[in-house]
Amino acid sequence: MNVEQRRKERLDRGIKVRSDTIYALMSVRELAYLTLPRFVLIAGMLVLPLAMPGMYWQRVVSIVCIYAILALSFDFLAHFVGLVSLGGAFFIGVGGYITALLNTNFGMSPLLSVPIAAVAGGLICTLLLLPCLPLRGVYFAIVTLMYPLAMARIIEALDILGGTDGIMGVGSFPNRWVEQYLVIAMVLVFLFGIRRLVNQDIGLVFRAVKDNDQAVKASGISITLYKAVAVFIASGIGCLSGACLVHIYMWSGISLFALDFSILPIAATVIGGSGTLVGPVLGCFILVPISELLRAFGTLRIVFYSLILVGFVVFRSEGIMVYGQRKYHQIERWVKV
């Protein structure tokens, strides 16, 4: 009896093979295949503030970018280094408070205090996370989860750093356009920068640490050191975005440590496609506007993100960009066995 069986076959698209390395210069079509997605992304993002109807939506774009940077930091740590950070809010809070303090106590201009907050915040966060770096990944997740929760309660209980009222009267950026294009530029720079980084030698070491840390140790490399470097990078950009956020809102308070900043980047990464770095950014573009629309529902939106998260984690869906990239580069068809 002849039973026909089929299997799914996946082949690289013709144009992908034709545009491999130097052959891309062969024709405009191949060049376009490679560069068009990036071009669309960059152009789209640069045009965005101009296209937005009114200040409210322009601010939403800025907020999207802040979350996007956090999501980049999460994806970088989780997919390329193997450290799952459940508390992005911690970076936002640390960066935000540092710049607020520098600005209100020392009168520093945001253009100076923001970079300082990024570097100092990165150092502080790395130091605080140092104890769990030599241990298994579970501990990193636990500790990052707890820090923002604990910090919020500590600030409230001890009534330091402004307590529940927060620090008011934080200066803002000199110019509305600077404010918007700064964060957009940061997203683009970090996106392409991290992409470049993970293919450099040091990026390979990060990926190796995720893959098989015993072998890395046996190769004479201290994994604690390189994990610390990765955490510094990730927390640095997180603190940077937190600092920008504070200058946008001109206020810094406990809500910087809110669950929003911890959960939304994870949900965005999961929806957008983990590991692609573009996916998390895309996920933020989807989720943040939705959350703005749902603002009337209060903390229900956090319930919404968590349910999305549970759904994706449990059903192990791949995410939009992973699907998109696959479709762009490969064709699938059924073939007879």
């Binding site: 030698d201 040091i202 390979l204 070491v205 990926r207 190796a208 893959d211 098989n212 015993q214 072998a215 890395v216 140790k217 046996a218 190769s219 004479g220 490399i221 201290s222 994994i223």
Partner: protein, 262 residues
């Protein structure tokens, strides 16, 4: 006057809860030797490697490498001092091509100091040095093999990659944990000259093996473990004639074969 042995293991004991994996084990390795460690399953062979190279903390005892006490040091520090090891259950970095796998050891402080196996002087481009090392190991340079993803390589190549990973550190000593296991006869036959070349280059080797016949071709000294204790030590012939060793391997066909062909 014998010169100082490159590795001295002194009274090493390791207990896992109630189980004594190693019991006051002592031995040393002279520079340039190839020491084979054999013994039935569960005799503690891999535990010895893990204790020496710092992956497991010993319950008691000391390990001296090149005159320095390395007991309890972190594994990457021990590798940095020149003592490399392979893993019995190998896992190359699957998502990377074969030659990129070597970028990681070439990134280590030791490789930066020593120029990484035949890298000569300054390190240079790690990708190129990686390909060079692979060629030394037996990957054909002009083929696509070094560029294949590590997960797609056949076992023989993966074992060589594991060895290449050690060589990139320009080590003084390599401990090979069952490097012949899982290989076909012809693959082993092509590995043996490689091992001999390593010895000629001045690298001391400890080889933990089950394949006795192949091991005896390269090793000049053999140590037998059983239940975490050393029951015999000496040249391969001496060891195989030892009554206690025969008892430990009682009934094993391999021993009979070796004995009959000796």
């Amino acid at each position: 006057m014998r010169e100082e042995p490159i590795l001295r293991v002194i009274d090493v004991t390791k207990a896992f809860g109630g189980i004594l994996a190693l019991n006051r084990l002592s031995f040393h390795v002279a520079e340039g030797d190839i020491l084979g460690i054999i013994g039935p399953n569960g005799s503690g062979k891999t535990t010895v490697v893990n204790c020496i190279t710092g992956f497991i903390r010993m319950s008691s005892g000391r390990v001296i490498f090149r005159g320095k006490d390395i007991s309890g040091k972190a594994p990457h520090k021990i590798a940095d001092m020149g003592l490399a090891r392979t893993f019995q259950i190998m896992r190359p970095y699957y998502s990377l091509p074969a030659y990129k796998n070597l970028v990681i050891p070439l990134f280590s402080p030791r490789a930066k100091r020593t120029g990484g196996w035949r890298g000569g002087g300054k390190l240079g481009d790690r990708d190129t040095v990686g390909i060079d090392i692979l060629e030394e190991i037996g990957f054909e340079r002009d083929s696509y093999v070094p560029y294949k993803l590590a997960s797609t390589l056949p076992t023989g190549y993966q074992k060589r990659l594991e060895l290449a990973r050690c060589l990139a550190l320009k080590p003084d000593m390599i401990i090979c944990d069952e490097i012949f296991s899982g290989l076909s006869m012809s693959e082993i036959a092509s590995m043996v000259p490689l091992i001999e070349r390593l010895q000629m280059d001045g690298i001391t080797l400890i080889m933990i093996e089950h394949r006795l016949r192949e091991l005896f071709r390269v090793a000049n000294r053999v140590m037998v473990l059983n239940f975490g204790e050393k029951i015999a030590e000496g040249s391969p012939d001496e060891v195989m004639a030892n009554e206690k060793v025969k008892e430990a391997y009682f009934g094993s066909e391999e021993v009979e074969e070796v004995m009959n062909h000796a």
